[in-house]
């Protein structure tokens, strides 16, 4: 009986540690823009960030989204990206409760559709140019993050 309890608690702790490991992996700090993300993470952690939801526009595959969601579990974090592929790769949303994904393009006015991007990350930038043409004068676009 006692052995069984020990075994069960042993199994439980193994399960927990693997879940914790998974969580730590999902919450891994992105290896880029460390300075910027340290500042944002600091503001979220020390209570300086104004109350309310977090929005990540141009979320890409969600490295930033997942960090924000992990360090502020009481806030909803919205990841917005026009690329279905990017959003599919945003895996932490399957494990972290406070992430919301939206396949959208955000602009000055809404209420219409534009043709979505093709395959691959680079297609997103050209897609955004088309979105811009639909809204107003075409601006020079930078590279995909």
């Amino acid at each position: 009986m006692r052995f069984n309890t020990m075994l069960a608690s042993g199994l439980l702790s193994v399960a927990l540690s693997s879940a914790q490991h998974e969580h730590a992996n999902l919450c891994r700090k992105p290896p880029r823009e460390s300075t910027f993300n340290s500042i944002v993470e600091g503001l979220l952690r020390d209570g300086s960030m104004p109350p309310g939801d977090v929005l990540d526009v141009g979320a890409n595959t969600g490295e930033w989204t997942c960090l924000y969601a992990c360090v502020s579990p009481s806030r909803l974090v919205h990841a917005v990206d026009p690329s279905a592929k990017n959003l599919r790769l945003l895996r932490c949303a399957d494990h972290i409760q406070n992430v919301r994904k939206a396949r959208l393009a955000l602009s000055a006015v809404g209420g219409y559709n534009i043709t979505g991007p093709g395959k691959g990350a680079w297609a997103t930038a050209s897609y955004r140019l088309r979105a811009d043409a639909a809204v107003g004068p075409r601006r020079r676009s930078g590279e995909h993050r």
Partner: protein, 178 residues
């Protein structure tokens, strides 16, 4: 609007997305369309006064940056440049925008104090903003120059508009000359 079967993507606005929900922080990285996103969020920005950040190429897109900067300051926000390259081009910077009226209460934030006092977060105006693409030492795009890197090492790209490699080099070589 919902995406159609042909892969069409609906266009919406920040105001529509939030509805009655409160916005606390927004990170906007949309490859040059930052102003459009902000224009679609006028109600949220004036109602909730969130902190937000936008990506900008300080040299390559001076004209559109001026428009963006003027719009942000007209909303009564203070702009800080994060002194770190944020993309493939070495003049890419994140601009952290804080509502003017929140600055007083943020003075006690340890992370903001450290960032401002150490020079990685610099309050800017329209006139001096483009100077901050060349100030040294440059914090690289990749995660070097951190706690675990070797003494004196940053990632840099030695005299190029774009990154040539993600190999670290010494602090003496961290200024791009684009």
């Amino acid at each position: 609007m919902r995406p159609s079967a042909h892969g069409d993507v609906p266009v919406s606005t920040v105001d529509e997305l939030f509805g009655d929900s409160t916005a606390g922080f927004m990170h906007i990285d949309v490859e040059g369309h930052e102003l459009d996103v902000l224009l679609g969020g006028g109600r949220v920005l004036s109602r909730d006064r969130p902190i937000f950040s936008v990506e900008a190429h300080l040299r390559r897109e001076k004209k559109s940056n001026n428009k963006l900067f003027n719009h942000i300051t007209a909303l009564q926000y203070t702009v800080f440049v994060v002194h770190e390259v944020c993309g493939w081009f070495t003049d890419c910077r994140n601009l952290l925008c804080i509502p003017d009226e929140r600055l007083g209460s943020l003075a006690g934030s340890a992370v903001l104090n450290l960032a401002v006092r150490s020079g990685v977060l610099v309050k800017v105006n329209l006139r001096n903003i483009s100077e901050y693409t060349s100030a040294a030492p440059l914090r690289g795009f990749y995660d070097a120059g951190g706690l675990l890197s070797k003494p004196g090492q940053y990632v840099c790209n030695k005299n190029s508009r774009t990154w040539k490699s993600d190999k670290p080099c010494s602090t003496a070589n961290t200024q791009p000359n684009d």
